[in-house]
Amino acid sequence: MLLFVLKRLGVMLLTALCLTFVVFWLTNLEPNLEKLAKEQANARMTDEQVESWLEGHGYRRPLLLRYGEWVGGVVQGDLGTSSVFRKPVAEIVGERLGYTGWLMFWVMVVMVPSALLIGVLAGMREGSRTDRTLSTFSIASTATPEYVSGVILVVLFASSRGGLSPIFLERGTLLKGVATSATDSITFENFALPVATMALYGMGYIARMTRASMAEVMTAQYIRTARLKGVSFPSIVIRHALRNALIAPFTVIMLQFPWLLTGVVIVETLFNYKGFGWTLVQAASNNDIELLLSCSIVAVLVVLVTQLISDVGYVWLNPRIRVR
């Protein structure tokens, strides 16, 4: 087991190095450097001035050398300075990640239990009417990306001209369509819509996986034995089926994190919530190279760590798999 984890860690480190190098190379492409020089010094520089500025600031040294220096800095905890926010990158990323952490926390709190419940209820009696209704709901939810469900939810709950608000209220809206104030204090009014938007898209997928796994477990021999023994149906589901049915969804939930990353970027842009995703968009659209690089390390690490946890967790939860 230890060897397995170590091997996985090694591959993970190699992947991280490869990916950050690709990001480093893409952010340091010629047009980006030219833009950076013009932003930092003078927008109307001639080509020679741009060249000498880049030369003077060390951007003309070999790419591998600069990448090595950057990795060295990262290892020592020095992430550089943001050219847009004029602050150390580590400070910005840390603060924004905190905000996104809250968003993720509430999304998980809403998404995972409801998805598991839907999946178990649907998979418990395969082919029943409950199953068909819930399965169609899950398919519909996977077909609705965040930028679609977000728009629909805002119109339903946070539009003064349409949706439900004019029916129930004289003026104002039921919920807020902007979550900027949630960075100070989270309330139901300003946080319900972003959380619901993100939870909806991920929910369907987890629910479908849970349903498939539950349906498979329900056909197993030991469930039939329990039924023939006269154990009641709820007790079969809760005591016998559930434990084995939840192994597969665990992996799926873990692998959802990278998907949530795209969701975070979309939702934070849509609701103007100034977390990590919003920062990534700002860094990318303002050519803030060092901030973008650090955002990409975080993004890559999230993906790799969740992959590792899902692999290790799967082996640990499922005693039938023995790693040599």
């Binding site: 996977t142 930028y147 795209t262 990409s296």
Partner: protein
């Protein structure tokens, strides 16, 4: 003229879509009559879910086809008096035309833009998915069949791409500078990064077709030569035209921005297809008919393409439907972040992005493309579900 009521708007939209209803009726009547001879597609008619999905997908396909007949206005036509007007507002001096779903903040018809927007997505999403599938198949078959070092190397590369956060890749890759700036020059031809990626990715369909022909007719050179020649001429023509914009006839051409988006979407999708094909191949290669072909002395590529691939078609067809839906979502995501083709193009993602700024006051401009995108993806997912159900019954 009076503005239309909600009932009037609905009937107006239903009437505007008449070519689609006619087309749907013809296709469904024809397919239903011939359903026993149509294989998997014919079996869909016994699955209500799959049928609803098929109807939704066909609806948008026909809308894209008949867009000039359906849309009352051109996608960029502005009528200044109708800026941000509510759905059902009559157009002055037009002889009974309405802005059925209202006007956007540049006074364009939301309904017409939604109809025009279906064209780009219904061309790009299936085409990008198809190329991603060919790349995934060409790489996944040998990885699963031979295993060993080749498999380790290809799987590592696939996992590398999969670990790359999609949104970050899009932000780094889909920028005007990268689309335009030449990176390397090859024989006097400046190649940008997307063109280099296209040079690799567009090679896979060509290799796929050539290998398919070579393995099928390898022992009959008389039949092989003309087919191979034709495939190479057409394939290389399309290859140079689309990837390098170097079509000698000047017919095939891809806008650099479009190429950039297209290549990014293919790049993101192909590793997943690779993993699926690899897994299926590893499962199927232990079957008896593969051993029989090996004993017969068939070459490995013949076995992969003509023994393993046809037997893996069920899961692949289902995944193909799902993946077109996923590609549609990706394409919309790009548009949502303003990374689309060109700022004026009426793609759904970009229209949602423009409309969302005024969402709380004028909700209609963003809702129409949002519902359109959702219904297309839902249709594809339901179709995939129906196909899966039917193919499992065999």
């Amino acid at each position: 003229m009076e503005p239309l009521s909600w009932g009037g708007i609905l009937s107006g939209i239903l009437v505007a879509f008449w070519p689609v209803w006619a087309g749907l009726a013809v296709i469904f009547a024809g397919s239903y009559a011939a359903r026993r001879h149509l294989g998997l597609y014919g079996k869909l008619f016994s699955s209500p879910i799959g049928l609803i999905g098929l109807a939704l997908v066909l609806f948008w396909a026909l809308t894209a086809l008949f867009a000039p007949q359906i849309a009352p206005f051109a996608p960029l036509e502005q009528i200044a008096a109708l800026k941000n007007k509510v759905p059902g507002t009559p157009v002055p001096d037009s002889g009974g035309l309405y802005y059925l779903l209202g006007g956007d903040n540049l006074a364009r018809d939301v309904f017409s833009r939604m109809v025009w927007g279906s064209q780009s997505v219904l061309i790009i999403a299936p085409a990008a998915t198809l190329i991603a599938f060919m790349a995934g198949i060409i790489l996944g078959l040998p990885a699963g069949y031979f295993g060993g070092r080749l498999d380790t190397a290809l799987s590592f590369l696939a996992n590398l791409v999969l670990a790359f956060p999609v949104i970050l890749l899009f932000y780094l890759l889909v920028t005007p500078e990268i689309a335009r700036e030449p990176m390397v020059s090859l024989g006097g031809l400046g190649l940008s990064l997307p063109q280099m990626m296209a040079a690799v990715l567009f090679l896979f369909p060509l290799v796929f077709v050539v290998m398919l022909l070579r393995t099928r007719f390898g022992r009959r050179p008389a039949q092989l030569a003309p087919r191979l020649g034709l495939a190479l001429v057409v394939g290389l023509w399309a290859y140079f035209g689309l990837a390098f914009n170097a079509d000698p006839l000047g017919v095939l051409y891809m806008d650099p921005f479009l190429l950039n988006i297209f290549v990014s979407v293919v790049f993101v999708n192909s590793p997943t297809v690779f993993r699926i094909v690899r897994g299926l191949t590893m499962d199927i290669k232990t079957r008896d008919y593969v051993s029989a072909a090996q004993t017969r002395g068939e070459g490995p590529w013949y076995i992969m393409l003509w023994e393993i691939l046809p037997n893996a078609r069920g899961p692949l067809i289902v995944d193909f439907c799902l993946r077109i839906g996923y590609t549609t979502i990706l394409f919309g995501t790009l548009g949502f972040f303003g990374l689309g083709i060109s700022p004026e193009s009426p793609t759904w993602g970009m229209t949602i992005n423009e409309g969302r700024r005024l969402l709380s006051v004028y909700p209609h401009a963003a809702i129409a493309p949002a519902v359109a995108l959702m219904s297309l993806v839902l249709g594809l997912n339901l179709l995939a579900d129906g196909l899966r159900e039917q193919s499992l019954k065999d």
